[in-house]
Amino acid sequence: MSVDDRYNNLAHKSGGESASGEQHPTSTVATLAGRPLLSNAGIPLDLKWLQEVRVNTSAVERRAQTQVARRTVKKEWQAAWLLRAISCMDLTTLSGDDTDERVRRLCAKARQPIQQDLVQKLGIEDLGIKVGAVCVYHAFIETALHALEGSGIPVAAVSTGFPAGLSPLPERVAEIRRSVEAGAHEIDVVITRAHVFGGRWQALYDEVATFKQACGAAHMKVILGTGDLLTFRNVARASFVAMMAGADFIKTSTGKEPTNATLPVSLVMVRAIREYAQQTGMAVGFKPAGGIRTAKQSLDWLALMKEELGLSWMRAELLRFGASGLLGDIERQLEHYATGRYSAEYRHPIA
């Protein structure tokens, strides 16, 4: 079966033009260098494209290293950027000891990520800053939905045998369906890393496309497990396959790998997103997850998005930080901006 045949079959099965099976919106969701982009509907697997992927590790590392030194934001600009980081945050709890009460606490923080007096000091009442989403295990979707009711904050659930992603495919697909039925707005899926190591791009494509179909209207973030994939070329190729198969977001890692989001690996993925957008006219979001703990780091990532992709990718629609500890540090920095004094962690309400 040729690549195109496979795609046609898939499209046929889903009854539409896209791998996702839904009629994708024709409205512009982003612009890249002035060019309007649509949301990602996927394309047939293009093996030639994958073969042409070139990533030079040292050069990528150097760019990531100097990028941080080339850009900085200060004073009120920094405050604004930090607020933006909050608005792009997937406030996350993914622990074995999670409870309903713990999730409710997290949701309360998501609604009001910055304490009221600080909001007033910054003069940003009208912005109504809240986080991008709350990210939990399937078991807590309902709890989170209740806790976030009326806030407009979407609930994201990790799925597909998170974090290893090695349970049988039907179970993983069923898991997505259950979460979608439970009301999750966003599903974070993990890929089978073995497909990447084995160069089984068709299998990877089919897997992600199947996930996408199961997600239906829910936004799908595809976790590549970059800490497992290790090489940048693997990361780049996996990024392209995930996007071709219809990912709404590509996400670095589970947060459970030895190394999670790094700037170099993010640069590789972000460049893949750009290339994909330029080739297809469709925008895919980016979610670095794990390891981003400081306000300074969030600024570095925002600058990376601004430099490599532009303003569209500095909004929650196309950028999410997968983080649990980041918010606390951002609050302390904002407090410092507002008062000129360095703050202490315990002075800010925890999630």
């Binding site: 590790t57 850009r71 934001v73 200060k74 600009w77 090489t231």
Partner: protein
């Protein structure tokens, strides 16, 4: 604008580095600086000062002394006075001083960085993250060399007093590149900073005081071109090290020709930046940012000529446009600025003029939509595409943020285009295929090749160019050698002038007379060009006489056309340069074997000119010398450096190319072999002019080469009057190097006449070389001059 508005716009906003401390430093000096001579600050004799300004806003920073001839003289005298004690210090003591300087640079790193940016206009990110850390690194590295000097360079001496002239593009870094190796090797220094950017050198003078450096070891004399000229022409300066334009380099070569000043020149470039279709294009584009949009493109090794494989030209240009659009140009003290100010109005004018010329030549000019600051000297990042090699912007150094783009079809064409320049400083090759990258790197005529990276520097890796990009290296072991000389050579006596040289006085001359009953020599000796015996173009011969006046025979009288033919033959004999070292060794051994076989007859003939004893010694030692260089051929290795990056940096000893040799008179055979053999051993091709004293040796030599499998053209021999042939060789632009061994007048002439293509000239400085002493007359010292180092940087990682 409120935070809420900024939340929407997500602009960067200003991020200025505070210039307060630098301002305070300037104020402490009353914004007026004198000359640093003999450890104290002295007003300029003529009382003249000039202003140095901040190019980002045109404001005056300070008045700086204009050093005159008298000031240069007192600085040189101070340096000379400090020299004996400084060179007599233990290397360990000098190491401590250099270590202290490295530490002080680090302690005052931000002040130095801010001051550099204010004076030069370069982004603070660059001065803070690149220039100043490299300065500290250079002093650390050379503190190490000072420590190891006696073990690693026995029997070497410092040059003495060194005059150093540095450019404005990397003011403090170029100072470090000059001063650190000079001090490490025991020299004392008079340094002239660039007129546009003298301030960090003056701050460095204070650091020298703080380090307790003995008075007079480092002298800083500010001023313009006149000051530099006074330094170059000062009779008591032993060496000139210059970084700057090729034009000025040429003038310095000319001005120092009649002196024994050693010279190292780091000049201009038009470095190729080659991108193959299998490169990581996004990274290659980022490489361009670090290449041509680094320091506003005011970088001698900037990758200013983009060579793109045709198949990727279109998408690559689109990527470059996109990237150029995100470059931020503005006040250089802003921490989030990529492109700062051009150093001065005159430079900005030059850039504008050259871009206009490029467009007139047919180039397409593209610039991103940027708003330039209202004040100060700024030029937007610029891409000139559809550039052809014939265009001025493809040939001449613009020294601005201007990239000239061309396409190529095959790796061979890439190399051809890359080497189609009078320069040879640096180059970049981008390909994910290591075979392609290294194959191309090996063929590029450039002192530095960066594979999949750009503008990386380190003290351990020598930096310097081929061709008109200058000669000598800075950094590494090879850079150190520029500041030292073998002790014996420094103290060797002068040769008598050639016209006073009677054969009886010649070195090694014996009192014995050849047998008067020897049969007359009636062989016809010819020139040897391209592996063939050739009659001279002139159709004339020159008589060759024995010391007693007897006619020994007639040698062909070569002229400029014969030299022309010989150079062409040498250029074509590339098979020799490409032969393996083992192969070259085999051929040289074979030469020795054949010389041994003819030993008696050659001794016999040579005796008529130099006496039996010397003739026997010349042939005997000649055989040994050939053996020696056959041995060296596969042993004069390069090195792998350890710069602080994840990469291997390969320092390759490469042949210079085609080299002319004016052979010494003292030993007609042994002198010839002593110079030609090291050149051959490392792969050069040679045009040799045997001494007029006994050019008949040519007949024996070509028989030797012919029977030893030496490829035609590897050695060419043209006999005739050295003074005439030297001129043609020195002025020939396709001759890459010139070794001239003769009296003072001859070697001065060789230097003076070589400025056309700035070929590397190596001479005996008119001194006596004892060709019969293998310790002095063969080995590394000769091989080092027969090669130039190419550093190939290869980062790795997956």
């Amino acid at each position: 604008m409120s935070i809420a508005e900024k939340f929407v716009s997500m602009e960067y906003g200003p991020a200025p580095e505070d210039p307060k401390e630098a301002g305070a430093w300037l104020e402490r000096h009353g914004r007026r600086f004198e000359l640093f001579i003999g450890g104290t600050w002295q007003p300029p004799t003529a009382g003249e000062y000039f202003d140095t300004t901040d190019p980002s806003n045109g404001e005056k920073l300070a008045a700086v002394a204009q050093g005159g001839v008298a000031d240069i003289d007192s600085a040189v005298r101070a340096a000379r006075a400090a020299s004996p004690k400084w060179r007599a210090l233990t290397p360990h003591a000098r190491a401590r001083y250099l270590y202290a300087l490295a530490r002080l640079v680090q302690k005052h790193s931000r002040l130095l960085a801010v001051l550099e940016t204010m004076d030069n206009g370069k982004p603070i990110r660059e001065s803070r993250d690149i220039d100043i850390p490299l300065v500290a690194r250079h002093f650390y590295y050379h503190a190490g060399w000072a420590q190891l000097l006696e073990q690693e360079f026995p029997e070497h001496e410092p040059c003495g007093v060194v005059g150093q002239i540095i450019p404005w593009n990397f003011p403090l870094l170029m100072l470090a590149w000059k001063i650190a190796p000079a001090l490490a090797t025991g020299n004392t220094v008079v340094l002239k900073p660039a007129e546009f950017t003298p301030l960090t050198a003056l701050l460095f003078a204070e650091l020298c005081q703080e380090a307790g450096l003995p008075a007079g070891v480092v002298n800083i004399v500010t001023g313009d071109g006149r000051t530099g000229e006074a330094l170059v022409k000062h009779p008591d300066v032993d060496k000139i090290a210059f970084t700057g334009s090729t034009e000025v380099g040429r003038a310095i070569r000319s001005a120092t020709a009649t002196s024994h000043k050693r010279l190292s020149l780091e000049l201009g470039g038009k470095s190729p930046f080659i991108i193959f279709e299998d490169a990581d294009l996004d990274s290659a584009v980022e490489g361009l940012v670090d290449g041509i949009w680094f320091n506003q493109g005011q970088v001698c090794c900037a990758g200013s000529r983009l060579l793109m494989q045709e198949s990727i030209a279109e998408p690559l240009i689109a990527k470059i446009h996109d990237r150029m659009s995100t470059l931020r140009i503005g006040p250089p003290l802003d921490k989030a600025i990529d492109i700062g100010a051009i150093v001065a109005r005159v430079q900005l004018d030059r850039i504008e003029r050259m871009v206009a010329q490029g467009v007139a030549d047919g180039a397409t000019c593209w610039q991103p939509q940027v708003t330039l600051p209202a004040r100060g000297f700024y030029y937007p990042p610029t891409l000139l595409s559809n550039v052809h090699p014939t265009s001025i912007v493809a040939q001449q150094e613009i020294f601005g943020p201007v990239l000239a783009a061309m396409t190529f079809r095959t790796p061979n064409e890439a190399v051809e285009l890359a080497n189609n320049t009078v320069y040879g400083l640096a180059s970049c090759v981008w390909s994910e295929n290591i075979n392609v990258a290294l194959h191309v790197a090996a063929q590029l005529k450039a002192g530095v090749v960066w594979v999949n990276c750009t503008n990386l520097f380190d003290a351990a890796c020598g930096f310097g160019g081929y061709r008109e990009s200058g000669y000598g290296r800075e950094g590494g072991r090879e850079g150190l050698l520029e500041y030292m000389e073998p002790t014996w050579f420094k103290h060797a006596p002068k040769l008598p002038a050639a016209n006073a040289l009677t054969p009886e006085k010649a070195v090694g001359q014996t009192e014995e007379r050849p047998d008067a009953s020897a049969p007359a020599i009636d062989r016809t000796v010819k020139l040897y060009i391209g592996g063939k015996q050739a009659r001279p173009d002139s159709g004339y011969s020159m008589e060759v006489h024995a010391p007693d006046g007897r006619l020994l025979g007639e040698a062909p009288l070569g002229n400029r056309k014969d030299i022309r033919n010989a150079v062409e033959a040498a250029r074509k004999a590339e098979s020799w340069a490409r032969a393996t070292a083992h192969n070259r060794a085999q051929v040289l051994y074979y030469c020795a074997e054949n010389l041994a076989q003819r030993q008696n007859e050659i001794v016999h003939r040579l005796s008529a000119a130099v006496g039996e004893k010397q003739a026997a010694a010349e042939v005997e030692l000649g055989i040994e010398r050939i053996f020696s260089y056959a041995a060296w051929a596969d042993k004069f290795d390069g090195a792998v450096h350890n710069p602080p990056f994840r990469n291997i940096s390969i320092a390759m000893n490469e042949a210079i190319g085609t080299v002319g040799v004016i052979c010494p008179a003292e030993a007609p055979l042994l002198g010839f072999l002593s110079l030609v053999l090291p050149l051959l051993a490392v792969g050069n091709t040679v045009i040799a002019v045997p001494s007029e004293r006994y050019p008949l040796i040519t007949g024996d030599l070509y028989q030797l080469f012919d029977t030893s499998d030496l490829p035609g053209g590897a050695v060419n021999i043209v006999t005739g009057y050295a003074s005439q042939l030297l001129k043609t060789l020195a002025e020939h632009d396709d001759v890459d190097g010139l070794w001239c061994y003769g009296d003072e007048a001859t070697v001065s002439a060789a230097k003076a006449m070589s400025i056309g293509n700035l070929k590397q000239v190596w001479t005996n400085e008119g001194r006596v070389i004892d060709w019969f002493n293998p310790k002095l007359a063969e080995g590394r010292w000769f091989l080092e001059h027969a090669t130039q180092v190419k550093n190939i940087w290869v980062p790795y990682g997956e």
